[in-house]
Amino acid sequence: SQQGEEDPQALSIQEGENATMNCSYKTSINNLQWYRQNSGRGLVHLILIRSNEREKHSGRLRVTLDTSKKSSSLLITASRAADTASYFCAALSGSARQLTFGSGTQLTVLP
């Protein structure tokens, strides 16, 4: 079953704008991770936030985690055309040995 579910499923913005993607999950987690996938390629890890953290930054990325709402958001600031890709959240539950991925958000950044 899906642990993480992203919304929106697709997002189209202009270059320079910010992009926000949301993720909801069902059970308690150890950490939550965000990945990026260019078309036809493997996934690349972007950022990991632990269950005891509320916010984390990495370059133009900002991730928040609200464990009371079982949700996370990924913000990409000052987007670029090269940010066009699919973005997935993945939740590692407390007892699991594997990550469970959501269905992803397809982000298109128009030049």
């Binding site: 493997g42 996934l43 590692l92 040995r97 991925f101 397809q106």
Partner: protein, 111 residues
């Protein structure tokens, strides 16, 4: 540094033919290894994972099997492919509860 190799990149196979996809990891020891499948425009479905040589856990009953003959080698197999086995197959490795490192993927088309 650690790297992961997955091949082939593309594979077209007739229904009923056998399958063997190989994945090897370099630069690390005793990694957790994973096989995921991704349908077009969808999230990742965990197929198999392994925490050690000869130790395979199956997440989804299906026409596929996995083996780990060496510490850093993970093989996905089928004796007879079905049309429904088509998809994008991704190998990945992970250390403890941290991030996954993905291979570049194999696009399998069963015709």
């Amino acid at each position: 540094s650690q790297t992961i190799h997955q091949w082939p990149a593309t594979l077209v196979q007739p229904v009923g033919s056998p399958l063997s996809l190989e994945c090897t990891v370099e630069g690390t020891s005793n990694p957790n290894l994973y096989w995921y499948r991704q349908a077009a425009g969808r999230g990742l479905q965990l197929l198999f994972y392994s925490v050690g040589i000869g130790q395979i856990s199956s997440e989804v009953p299906q026409n596929l099997s996995a083996s780990r003959p060496q510490d850093r080698q993970f093989i996905l197999s089928s004796k007879k492919l079905l049309l429904s086995d088509s998809g994008f197959y991704l190998c990945a490795w992970r250390y403890f509860n941290e991030k996954l490192f993905f291979g570049s993927g194999t696009q399998l088309s069963v015709l």
